[in-house]
């Protein structure tokens, strides 16, 4: 469904991605783990076209993405819950969700998707007329994920959904990620919380300094020495 082949992305002269290749098949949850600065967010930005690869290709359902404008890429059915949530602070929760559905053509179905999001995140329904900026961190995370779901994407990109959240909320968010996947959405999940991410994912990739250094089934990665030592803090 999604394929990155030998992608090199630069910020000025700084090499952020040094030949990243990965695939995501339909129906999967694939996770990309690694420490800060490994290039995980850059990978997502390159998929969404907010930064461009200098070399390599990104294809989605047979279509090249690396030459398309971001809004066109979104229209193909890719939505993102970005790092740092990036919700529209001076717009209401409802307006944020409506903007998530901006690119959709089937406007009639938006109402039922709104109900689906409110069912997943009842807190958002309670706060629907509040300004996004007044929400707590956890609520903003819910809004960012809910806003991405409003696009009814075939591929959902999640960037650090657990960041800054209380442990109990992290559990909830990851349960919801699994629910969303079971309802038919393919997910590429970027996380620093390797244990949680590998707990829900089917497959995983480990990134270090702009390269994929390891890839395997999630259960296998959880057992690997590299992951246990570097990302799970085990001796």
């Amino acid at each position: 469904m999604l394929e990155l082949a030998d992608v090199h992305t630069y910020y000025g002269n700084i090499r952020a991605l040094r030949g990243v290749s990965l695939t995501v098949a339909q129906g999967e949850i694939v996770t990309l783990i690694g420490s800060n600065g490994a290039g995980k967010t850059t990978t997502l930005k390159t998929i969404l076209g907010t930064t461009r690869p200098r070399r390599g290709t990104v294809t989605f359902s047979g279509q090249r993405l690396d030459t398309l404008a971001t809004d066109r890429i979104v229209r193909l059915g890719i939505a993102q819950s970005p790092e740092g949530r990036r919700i529209f602070a001076r717009m209401t929760v409802l307006e944020n969700l409506e903007l998530g559905a901006f690119a959709r053509k089937d406007r009639a179905a938006i109402g039922s998707d709104l109900e689906r999001v409110f069912a997943l995140f009842p807190r958002l329904a309670q706060r629907s007329t509040q300004q996004g900026g007044t929400l707590s961190g956890g609520e903003q995370q819910m809004l960012a994920i809910g806003r991405a779901l409003m696009a009814r994407p075939t591929l959902l990109l999640l960037d650090e959904p657990s960041m800054g959240l209380a442990p109990i909320l992290v559990e909830t968010i990851f349960r919801i990620i699994q629910d969303i996947n079971r309802q038919g959405t393919t997910i590429l999940l970027v996380e620093q919380n390797a244990r949680m991410a590998l707990g829900v994912a089917h497959r995983g990739y480990v990134m270090q300094t702009g390269r994929i250094v390891l890839q395997a089934a999630a259960a296998e990665l959880l057992r690997s020495d590299l992951v246990r030592k570097t990302y799970l803090g085990e001796k």
């Binding site: 969404l48 907010t50 404008a69 971001t70 809004d71 979104v74 229209r75 939505a79 993102q80 970005p82 990036r86 529209f88 602070a89 001076r90 717009m91 307006e95 409506e98 903007l99 998530g100 901006f102 690119a103 959709r104 900026g133 806003r147 696009a151």
Partner: protein, 312 residues
């Protein structure tokens, strides 16, 4: 005229001036909100709006005061035609002058805007010549208090004052509806708050910018038409001063903040009318721009705006 009547009269004058400043200031603030450019050519779009509306009246064969059904058909028509023309002009300015600089430093389009301002002024100079141009008295002026209510007062309120307010308020209501209720209005606000995330919502940012210039240009055109009808005179250099005062209004209200621009425009209108009366017209610019400096030094986010606060 006693002191009290003078104050009331100048306040009415301030209201009509302020309405025009508010319409111009909205265009400044909207464009700033979306691409962080102080579009110094905006005042000149207002000036051209005055001359363009004059051309539309001429094309439609209007040279005298409109009456009856003509007033109800031709005047709204000229409003629409003028607004469409200046909207298209403003979009063209963006395409030609600013869009190629979208990815450059912020200083480049700013200097370009000053250049565009000079070009538009000289275009008007070439078109209309250096002398002030008479604008036909197309709108009937009736002294409302005396002729309609039989009140003998030193205060003048004319139907033209009513026109200014009566045209500005619906425009602002329509603008407010557009930005708060419609799909593209919401896209515009989203783009102003966070361009990259707006793009990730599938919003075509360039189209949103185009729309912003279109709406801003339309409002400036309406302001030019109102100015022409009210003062019956137009000068090629008038956009410069009106633009700077409207810019002050936008900064006062908090640049990027639309209700702030409208209120700031009214405030500058009152202030300049009072200053003309109580101090001296020669000092009015100094006073208005002192306010600009004071706001920039002590409250750069403006009286209402806290725009920078959401860029966490």
């Amino acid at each position: 005229m006693n002191a009290w009547e003078v104050l009331v009269q100048q306040t009415i004058n301030g209201l009509t001036r302020g309405a025009v400043f508010a319409l111009i200031a909205l265009g400044y603030t909207m464009v700033y909100g979306i691409i962080e450019l102080i579009n110094f050519a905006h005042g000149d779009v207002f000036m051209l709006g005055l001359f363009i509306s004059l051309s539309w009246f001429t094309l439609l064969g209007v040279t005298k005061t409109l009456t009856g059904w003509q007033l109800l058909t031709i005047l709204p028509l000229v409003f629409i035609l003028t607004m469409l023309t200046t909207a298209a002009l403003n979009v063209a300015i963006d395409r030609v002058a600013y869009r190629p600089l979208r990815r450059s430093t912020r200083l480049a389009p700013l200097i370009t805007a000053i250049g565009v301002s000079f070009m538009l002024e000289n275009l008007a100079l070439l078109w209309k010549g250096p002398a002030p141009i008479a604008y036909p008295d197309v709108f009937p002026s009736v002294d409302i208090l005396r002729e309609w209510f039989g009140v003998d007062s030193a205060i003048f309120v004319t139907t033209k004052d009513v026109l200014v307010v009566g045209a500005t308020i619906p425009l602002m209501i329509a603008l407010n509806y557009f930005v708060t209720r419609t799909r593209w209005g919401k896209a515009m606000r989203a783009t102003a708050q966070d361009r990259e995330t707006a793009q990730a919502m599938g919003i075509n940012v360039e189209r949103t910018i185009l729309l912003t210039f279109f709406v801003g240009g339309a409002l400036a055109g309406a302001a030019g038409l109102i100015q022409g009808i009210y003062y019956n005179i137009g000068m090629w250099w008038m956009g410069y001063q009106a633009g700077l005062r409207a810019f002050t209004a936008a900064v006062l209200g908090g640049i990027g903040n639309m209700p702030g621009a409208a209120l700031g425009g009214l405030f500058i209108g009152f202030l300049s009318a009072w200053s003309d009366q109580y101090i001296s017209a020669r000092w009015t610019n100094a006073i208005v721009f002192s306010i600009l400096i004071l706001v920039l030094v002590f409250r750069p986010q403006g009286l209402l705006g806290a725009r920078s606060a959401d860029k966490v």
